[in-house]
Symmetry: C2
Subunit: 337 residues, 2 copies
DNA sequence: CTGTTAGCGCGTTCAT
DNA sequence: ATGAACGCGCTAACAG
């Protein structure tokens, strides 16, 4: 392995000078600078990153915590994060919690080992109280997930409004019996959507009906299952709000199997605006989430915090969601939207 | 920051002894071992990973090179890799090439910086000749992608057979005018599928027809576009082989718009067995790829190579592909399969 | 079984 | 503007 000493020797200079040109310090004579550059690529020298990290106490790496990557939402999120991180000279370490508290905690240890300079939490399995204990070891930023009591930067979407506009759309189409079908009570994301859902309901003099609530639907298969349950009800809902396009697609798939017309007999709205929503038949009405913006902002805020060397500050960034009306909620010509 | 010295001091022992218990060396007296453990968690000590890396010349990190994560194939691949890496005490660094040669080369530099112990190439934008120059800096393993001249481990799928069985299925359904619609000539994956395609054709006395060839279809949108082109032909194909379920979905979507029945007037076969293939209407016949197995094997082989400290050996692992017949290629009752 | 010592490769005072 | 020397935190000889 070729080290900075080798370069120094070949250039007839000292390590210090070589180090200075590597990190482009101001006061180095152009002549010697040239000699160093020549020696460097004559030897094919590249600085050793472990040595730098040890010396600088900075690894130029950040980690992102996600439940799992197969979920297209997180795939997109991480894709955008990697691009933004690379652009800023950072590497992205990927950590899947697989919805496990222990696994999440294990990944958090990276902070203590100083293996990463900071971490983005796009998943939160443990209580914030537990997670916050890692704060002294490096900056944390939340992305998408959130927790009001957390005094760190949080980059999120306006999920209340998301739930609201989707529901409002259903109500405006004349529906009064709305099912609510999402994954996981636990996540604040889901809770906020429900608040938006209920807010819209209330404006029309309605309240949440427990028999129309389904809280463990994450996948297409779950969607199919939920449809079957709905189908057997004696007083079934005429529309269903879902937490993801996959679940919506599942419900539609189930409806097809049973010969139930969507949106004629049952309207379905998704969430995420994934590709799947554009090609299902009927095309799925959904809520678009500005994933890329959120990812970029998260990276930028984290990197700023890292550079500032301060404790992360309590900051909130919220991006808007947008209703996208397609076919799964609208039969015939559009009514008032 | 609490260091190994702090622990040693508190335990009333030397650094070496502490180091020995951390790395569980055989000959340490149980009594002192206890003292060390007590001191360690009294102080909340965690070894600094940069220091370890510098000393051991091993970072316990591997990188995976993919085109981009949004593609569900790579999402699944990376998900499985992360799990397997974590299980083996390694971290996974994610590197997207975004289909750019320069970006790919940039990521390869991680090897020179000794930031990772090895790298998995699930993408190959540059010539192998170019990439192979990085071999002296750390082990490389190819996954999914391949290159015959590369004397490194390659974990791949039998794409020739995949192309063959899909095509054979179409031919057995009675089709004689087959379109071929995939992304990118460049990749060996695509080339092998085409070999399989032509092999099947040949067995039925047919040859590849250039006017039926489409080579830049990656997405749903491309699929729709391709359908339009097919639709305008005076002597259109009756079946189309595609390189991904997304493209197949696009073609089906296009067909719907123009009122062309699938599979009645046009059969379409996908590739990958992504969720989308299960919920399109009609459900898409496709070829299942054992992504998880391939990912696990890649990680294992790479880690073995890293540990052996030898140069990577020329090895080939090939996993089988499986035809999955659904609705997009079969009208009415199944004929011979 | 345990402690002392010497680097790993780099950046950074502190001199000059 | 440049060089000498020290130390980041850790592991691995080498002694004993």
């Amino acid at each position: 392995m070729v080290t900075i000493d080798d370069v120094a020797r070949l250039a007839g200079l000292s390590k210090s000078t070589v180090s200075r040109v590597i990190n482009n310090y101001p006061h180095v004579s152009p002549a010697k600078k040239q000699k160093v550059y020549q020696a460097m690529d004559a030897l094919g020298y590249v600085p050793n990153s472990s040595a730098r990290s040890l010396r600088n106490k900075k690894t130029q790496m950040i980690a992102v915590l996600v439940p799992r990557l197969m979920n297209p939402f997180f795939g997109q999120l991480v894709e955008s994060m990697e691009i933004e991180a690379t652009k800023n000279g950072f590497q992205l370490l990927i950590c899947q919690t697989m919805y496990s508290k222990e696994t999440e905690l294990g990944h958090l240890e990276l902070l203590k080992m100083k293996q990463v300079d900071g971490m983005i939490l796009a998943s939160l399995e443990n209580e914030w109280e537990t997670v916050s204990e890692y704060l002294p070891y490096g900056p944390l930023v939340m992305c998408n997930e959130f927790e009001d009591s957390a005094n760190i930067p949080i980059i999120k979407l306006d999920q209340i409004h998301g739930g609201y506009i989707a529901t409002k759309h259903l109500l405006r189409q004349g529906h009064r019996k709305l099912a609510y079908c999402t994954g996981g009570h636990k996540s604040m994301v889901g809770q906020h959507r429900k608040i938006g859902f209920e807010k819209a309901l209330k404006e029309h003099g309605l309240t949440f009906e427990n028999r129309y609530g389904f809280f463990s639907a994450y996948s297409i298969e779950h969607g199919i299952e939920v449809f079957k349950q709905i189908h057997q009800m004696k007083d079934p809902p005429t529309a269903v709000f879902t937490g993801s396009d996959e679940v919506a697609a599942g419900i539609i798939t189930g409806a097809k199997e049973y010969g139930v017309d969507v949106p004629g007999e049952l309207s379905v709205i998704g969430f995420d605006n994934q590709v799947i929503s554009k090609i299902m038949d009927p095309k799925i009405s959904t809520v678009e989430q500005p994933i890329e913006l959120m990812a970029q902002q998260s990276i930028q805020v984290l990197i700023e915090t890292i550079k500032s060397k301060d404790f992360p500050k309590r900051e909130r960034y919220e991006f808007p969601l947008e209703l996208i009306i397609r076919e799964s909620t609208v039969s015939g010509p559009l009514r008032a939207v």
